[in-house]
Amino acid sequence: MRLDYPANIKIIRVPCTGKVDLMYLLSAIQKGADGVYVVGCLEGSCHYKEGNFKARQRVEQARALLEEVGLEGDRVRMYNLSSGEGPTFAAYAKEMTEHIKALGPNPLK
C-alpha cells in the first residue's frame, strides 16, 4: 500500500495488546515519551478473547494515574482496528501525532 504515516512514531510489537502492562505505558511517559497509544484488534475479534479489553482497562488506568500525577491523561490512548486496515492504522497515527502536538511536549523531558 505504501502508506505514509508520521515518522516520529516508534512501534513496539507485542503478541497481543493483552501483553501491554500498565508499567509499559507509565514507563514510556516517565522516560519522556510525549504520548503512547495502544493499537489493538477490533473489540470482539481478539484471538485470545479478551486481550484488547484488558489493554483498554490498563489504558484507562494509566490515564487516571497520569491525571493524579498532574499530567494529561489523554497522552495515553487506545485505538482498535483489524489487521487488514492499513489505511486506518496510518490515519490513527496521524490523528495521535496531531493530538499530541496540540498537547505539547512531555513536561518531564
Binding site: M23, L26, I29, Q30, L65, E68, V69, G70, L108
Partner: protein, 223 residues
C-alpha cells in the same frame, strides 16, 4: 487473606514531601495477592511519585524492594543493609507489616502507603469481600459457616433481631440479613437446633493486643 487498599495518591505524596530518598517496601503475601502492595504496585507507585515530584521541581529518588512477608523477621533481614541509604521507608504492607518494619528500624520514619481494610475472600480478579473480623471466638460451627459478627450489620452473636425484613437487613434493602442466611442454610442442613444455642457476648471493650502461642511452642525469653 488480609485485604488492603492503596491510599489516595495525594495523601502518600504529602507523607513523603520532606524526603528526598525513599525506599518503597512491598510485601509479597496478602497485599500482593489483593493487588494493593506487591512488586507491581511498588513499581507503579514509584513511577507515579517520580513523575509527580519531577513536575513539582522537587525530585525524589525512589528505591524498590518487595520482601516475602513484612510480618516475619526472617524476611526483614534483607533490608538491614539497605535502609541506611534512605531518608524514609514507605511500606505497602498491611498495618501489621508496617508496624513490624517501624519496630525494626525505629530511627527511620516508616510511612504507610495502604489502608488495611479487612480479612476477606477473593471473589474475582481485583474484587474482594470481607468475611472475618478476627473476633477470637468463632461461632461458624453453629451458624452454618456464615459469620454473624462480620455479615450482620449489628454483629449479633445471637439472632435474628427484630430488624430482619424478608431476607434483608433493616439498615438497607440491599444488605442481606446474615441471620436469615444462617437460618436458611441450617434449615437446608437439617441443623436448625444450632440456632437456638446462645453464645455469650464477646468482650469487645478494653481489648489489648492479642498474642497467640501455638501448642508445643513457647515464647522465647529473648528475641
Amino acid at each position: 487473606m488480609i485485604v488492603a487498599k492503596r491510599k489516595p495518591f495525594n495523601e502518600i505524596k504529602s507523607l513523603l514531601k520532606d524526603y528526598k530518598k525513599v525506599l518503597n517496601v512491598g510485601c509479597g503475601t496478602c497485599v500482593a495477592v489483593c493487588l494493593a502492595g506487591g512488586e507491581k504496585e511498588v513499581a507503579v507507585l514509584n513511577a507515579e511519585l517520580d513523575m509527580a515530584r519531577k513536575l513539582e521541581d522537587n525530585p525524589v529518588e525512589m528505591g524498590a524492594i518487595t520482601v516475602e512477608r513484612q510480618c516475619d523477621r526472617e524476611y526483614l533481614e534483607a533490608l538491614d543493609s539497605l535502609v541506611n541509604g534512605y531518608d524514609a521507608l514507605l511500606s505497602m504492607a498491611c498495618g501489621a507489616g508496617i508496624q513490624f518494619l517501624a519496630e525494626r528500624y525505629p530511627e527511620k520514619p516508616v510511612l504507610p502507603a495502604v489502608d488495611t481494610t479487612f480479612i476477606g475472600v477473593n471473589q474475582g480478579v481485583g474484587w474482594y469481600e470481607e468475611r472475618c473480623r478476627s473476633c477470637s471466638s468463632c461461632v461458624l460451627g453453629l451458624t452454618g459457616g456464615i459469620c454473624p459478627v462480620t455479615m450482620c450489620a449489628k454483629g449479633l452473636y445471637n439472632g435474628p433481631c427484630g430488624g430482619t425484613n424478608k431476607g434483608n437487613c433493616e439498615i438497607d434493602k440491599n444488605q442481606p440479613c446474615a441471620w436469615y442466611m444462617i437460618y436458611e442454610r441450617l434449615k437446608a442442613q437439617n441443623r436448625l437446633d444450632c440456632i437456638l444455642e446462645i453464645t455469650p457476648p464477646s468482650d469487645w471493650q478494653n481489648q489489648i493486643p492479642r498474642t497467640v502461642i501455638q501448642p508445643g511452642y513457647k515464647k522465647p525469653e529473648k528475641v
